[in-house]
């Protein structure tokens, strides 16, 4: 019987600043690992074939689609999800901008948009229209018609520039604190 069961493999991965080990079936997607095994349900699944971008998370700071990536591929890497962004109840500037500019309605695609935008603004704090469209063009929203999302990302970019900090830089301190022994998750 045992040989019929898919073999499990050990995976060590850093998620939101915390190092974790798990034994997984190799076929487990990164999204299912985050959502089911770790309970990080803020990463949403919209299409499970890599088109809609709802499941976007960051892998070593780069946006990836966790629905078409296997958890084992994340071994040895750092994964950042939407849960890492707010700090002690205070919204991240990107999250606040989506609230302020009505950049969401049902909110299902929003974590993916925010993670994709976080990667863009870390790399390019003052993106051109073209750069913005290229990033947001990889994400699908069915509610907003996009205009308000574009405004949200612009607004966040401006606030972050004023603070002189990148969207991921801002996470570093909070993540370090979480990763410390006794830190909250």
């Amino acid at each position: 019987m045992d040989e019929d069961k898919p073999a499990r493999v050990a995976v060590t991965v850093t998620v939101n600043g915390r190092r974790l080990s798990a034994e997984l079936e190799p076929r487990t997607t990164l999204a299912d690992f985050l959502r089911v095994d770790l309970g990080l349900t803020g990463t949403h699944l919209g299409c499970e074939h890599g088109v809609c971008g709802a499941c976007t998370v960051l892998l070593d700071g780069r946006a990836v689609r966790s629905c078409i990536m296997l958890a084992v591929q994340a071994a040895g890497h750092e994964v950042t999800t939407i849960e890492a962004l707010a700090n002690e109840g205070e919204l991240h500037p990107l999250q606040q901008a989506f609230v302020d500019k009505h950049g969401l309605q049902c909110g299902f695609c929003t974590p993916g948009f925010i993670m994709a935008a976080a990667e863009l603004l870390e790399r390019d704090p003052d993106p051109t229209e073209q750069a913005l469209l290229e990033t947001l063009g990889g994400q699908v929203c069915r509610c907003t018609g996009y205009e308000a999302i574009i405004e949200s990302v612009r607004d966040a970019a401006e606030k972050l520039r004023q603070q002189g900090v990148g969207p991921l830089e801002l996470l570093a301190a909070a993540l370090e604190k979480n990763a410390a022994p006794g830190g909250g998750e």
Binding site: G46, H102, C106, F108, G137, R142
Partner: protein, 803 residues
């Protein structure tokens, strides 16, 4: 009970309105942007199993045999069920029209590709899908009915043999002297049109977690239910349970747009749970299942539209002939989309003679479901495009022919030919505002010079009605004949003076909880953040329906105001005892119950509520000590449909006027939207930011409808659009930036004068874009009469028909 609702902001018991009508920040948002909202796929229950569904690979086939023994023996599999279990334990689906439904799992034969045939419950989804691989189903293929025309053929195979035909419904409705109008017309304009299947595609697919407790026979269904009570009643009929043993718990959903179905999924999970001794069973539809056979396909239509006109452009008669391909069954209530155009059949125009010749047929495609707009968007398109054709033949500008046919501003309330009553409007004002805003004259000059250079540049003008606040009577012609759709809210004050509103619908994106908080905050002079909104399940909440038919904003405003007014009266009675005066001498103002003649003698509502909760012994004996009240709002004055389908159905009629500038690329057939302007009027805007959000979302879906989205089937009814690489959703690249203005003509019939506006631009955008494309093509003598106007279609039109 409508007399108890304040009808205007002036009647609210505050000296200053601080929240209603403002772009108040949404209470829903912090939870959503942090990923904390509990969508159904987040739900995990102890002992929960996961369902996977084996689906028919054939559009029409007899099921010869099913061998699921290997799956049943697989470790981790707890239950396997088939159509014979469904036929033994359940009733066929409730449908409209009646009698066109099957069981949740195909019994004896399958009627469309993707129809569920066998379902498995296992300890996780991976294993459940593994188990499907072990199931062997033998099919015998049957002749396929691939489209609506084929369904009508004399020798067509039958979807439901017992009906002897594939025609689900065929009726002709005549309103006014239609033949006379056409006999006496100076000009008759006619065209044929084709609107292809498209659908909702919310970013979250449908999901549910169902448990059927064998101990007390209680069925608990958690899921992304758009209308939990409606869904629960249908489950009780299908599963043969008393209605009070079906408890529906609706989770916030990631979009809906009418297409949040899942009837079969819930019934399948119920049967699996029963088979697995009551363990909860989760089914999360994946996107491939959604695209293949989910509740996401709507409006598969062939139209012929005729207008009778006088020389001056006055339209005197309208004939609409519709053939709609409903797919394999009527289980998903897609037929309501063919009925709803009655609510605004003649659009913005005063056309008193009209005819609707309607044929709904069954084919071997996926059953149709509702989608945002529920049917009028294609109807509006064919009407508006034919108006343009008439304008061209008469040498009139599109704006002018519309202006000559508008229902005049002083004619409201106005009863249209198909029976519905429009509450209010000023269509000419909207048109003028739009033409000014866009500088229409300059645009026309630009278009003319571009066309003179051979560029395919065009302008499209379209104006439409959005029927708001639906009533069942609007769908009487397809078999849903009741009248009245309730929405209830309970408002309670706790011992700390905080306000909680309890209601029976979950969030799907329109910001309804925020709206309830806005209304109550202004009533009791607190802030929206001081108000908690608590969702209640179908057996706990006051009578409710939830979102649908552009109703909820109006309905919950009425319910919240009504409950607040009743609560105010209760508080006043108690305050009168405490302040030692008569109950009629007390009024609420700025959060205080005060003695009218002596306003300094007052108590804050929190004190009064506290006294009620703590010292009911001090209250008069017959008084209710609970500082809470429930009000159930229902649209007033709705009438049952007559034999021609005429009824006062939708309560409000919002209007919008859109103008689009497009350019068609001759070499590729692609359409670029170069400019977009609109003016709309949905009465009082209770939260202008969320109203605008609805408008923009409707534009995006309208762009998708006009240019991109289509479910394609081959000649054997095999679906060819099975992923988002084939079914194209609009992205940030396709949706234009829009210049917008709002007019405000309040509804005389609704609390605070608001009109339904959730479908918004979806009613208008497809028509406006198609009118613009046709304006661009008109110098070539070509017309695009099929939606979506995809590059392939336009290229073929340009290169196979032009010189």
């Amino acid at each position: 009970m409508s007399g108890s609702i304040p009808n205007s902001l002036e009647e609210l018991p505050v000296s200053e309105i601080r929240w209603i009508g403002k772009g108040v920040e949404r209470l829903e948002d912090p939870s959503l942007v942090t990923g904390r909202t509990e969508f159904i796929d987040n739900v995990v229950l102890p002992g929960m199993l996961h369902c996977a569904i084996l689906r028919s690979p054939y559009a029409h086939a007899r099921i010869v045999s099913i061998d699921s023994s290997a799956a049943e023996e697989m470790e981790g599999v707890y239950a396997v069920i088939t159509g014979s279990d469904a036929a033994r334990l359940t009733n066929p689906a409730t449908t409209a029209p009646e009698g066109w439904g099957g069981y949740c799992l195909a019994h004896e034969k399958t009627r469309f590709v993707g129809e569920p045939v066998v379902a498995v419950a296992a300890t996780n989804r991976y294993l459940a899908e593994d188990a499907l691989e072990l199931i062997i189903v033998e099919y015998e293929e049957l002749p396929v009915v691939a489209n609506a025309q084929a369904a009508l053929a004399a020798d067509a195979a039958l979807l439901f043999e017992e009906h002897g035909s594939n025609v689900m419904l065929q009726r002709k409705f005549t309103w006014g002297e239609v033949d006379e109008a056409f006999d006496q017309a100076d000009l008759v304009v006619s065209d044929d049109y084709r609107w292809n299947r498209l659908g909702a595609n919310p970013m979250e697919t449908f999901g549910c977690v169902v448990d059927w407790n064998p101990a007390d026979d209680m069925l608990t269904c958690r899921g992304s239910f758009q209308s939990q009570s409606h869904m629960g009643l249908a489950r009780s009929l299908v599963l043969g349970l008393p209605s009070n043993q079906v408890r529906m718990i609706s989770h916030p959903h990631g979009g809906s747009f009418g297409g949040k179905g899942g009837f079969r999924g819930v019934d399948i999970c119920a049967l699996l749970s029963k088979a697995a001794s009551g363990r909860p069973v989760k089914w999360m539809e994946d996107r491939l299942e959604y695209l293949l056979a989910g509740a996401g396909q709507s409006w598969d239509r062939e139209y012929r539209l005729q207008l009778a006109l006088k020389k001056d452009g006055t339209v005197t008669g309208l004939r609409v002939k519709l053939l709609d391909d409903m797919g394999g069954t009527a289980e998903a209530f897609g037929a309501v989309s063919a009925a709803k155009p009655l609510a605004a059949f003649t659009g913005c125009y005063a056309i008193q003679a009209a005819e609707y010749d309607l044929t709904l047929v069954a084919t071997n495609k996926i059953p149709q479901s509702p989608y945002r707009g529920m049917g009028p968007p294609p109807h509006n398109w064919v009407l508006e495009q034919t108006m343009d054709k008439a304008a061209r033949e008469l040498g009139l500008d599109p704006a002018e022919i519309r202006r000559r046919n508008y229902i005049p501003a002083d004619a409201f309330p106005y009863t249209i030919a198909s029976g519905n009553e429009y509450d209010s409007g000023n269509y000419e004002a909207a048109l003028d505002e739009l033409l000014n805003m866009a500088d229409y004259e300059r645009l026309c000059a630009e278009r003319d010079s571009a066309q003179a250079e051979g560029r395919l540049l065009g302008l499209g003008l379209a104006n439409t009605i959005e029927p708001g606040v639906f009533d069942w009577n609007a769908y009487a012609i397809v078999g849903l004949e009741s009248t009245g759709v309730p929405e209830g809210i309970t408002v309670a004050i706790d011992v700390m003076g905080r306000i909680t509103a309890r209601l029976g619908f979950s969030l799907e994106g329109q910001g309804q909880y925020t709206l309830v908080a806005q209304v109550l905050a202004d009533y009791f002079a607190v802030t929206p953040a001081d108000v908690s909104i608590v969702y209640q399940d179908s057996l706990s909440a006051p009578p409710h329906f939830g979102p649908g038919g552009s109703r909820l904003g109006v309905a919950i405003t009425g319910a919240a105001l009504g409950a607040a007014r009743l609560l105010e009266r209760k508080l006043a009675r108690v305050a009168a005892v405490l302040l030692q005066c008569g109950p009629d001498d007390v009024e609420l103002m700025d959060g205080f119950l005060r003695v009218r003649a002596m306003p300094e003698a007052r108590m804050h509502f929190a004190e009064v509520a506290g006294a009620m909760l703590a010292r009911s012994d001090l209250l008069p004996e017959d008084s209710d000590p609970q500082p809470q009240a429930t009000y159930v709002w229902t649209a007033p004055g709705r009438t049952p449909a007559d034999e021609q389908g005429r009824a006062k159905s939708y309560l409000t009629a919002a209007n919008a006027c859109h103008l689009v500038k497009v350019e068609v690329d001759r070499d590729t057939g692609t359409v670029d939207i170069l400019g977009y302007w609109l003016v709309d009027d949905c009465g009082t805007r209770l939260n202008p930011v969320t109203v605008e959000g609805q408008t923009m979302g409707g534009i995006a879906q309208g762009v998708g409808a006009a240019l991109l989205e289509e479910y394609v089937y081959d000649e054997s009814a095999q679906p060819l659009t099975s992923s988002f690489m084939d079914y194209l959703l609009p992205s940030v690249y396709e949706v234009p930036r829009v210049e917008k203005k709002a007019l405000t003509t309040p509804s005389p019939f609704t609390p605070l004068g608001a009109k339904g506006c959730g479908e918004g631009a979806m009613h208008t955008t497809p028509a406006a874009i198609m009118c613009a494309i046709n304006d661009a093509l008109s110098p070539l003598g070509l017309s695009a009469r099929e939606v979506p106007a995809s590059p392939r279609r336009l290229w073929k039109l340009l290169h196979e028909n032009a010189d």
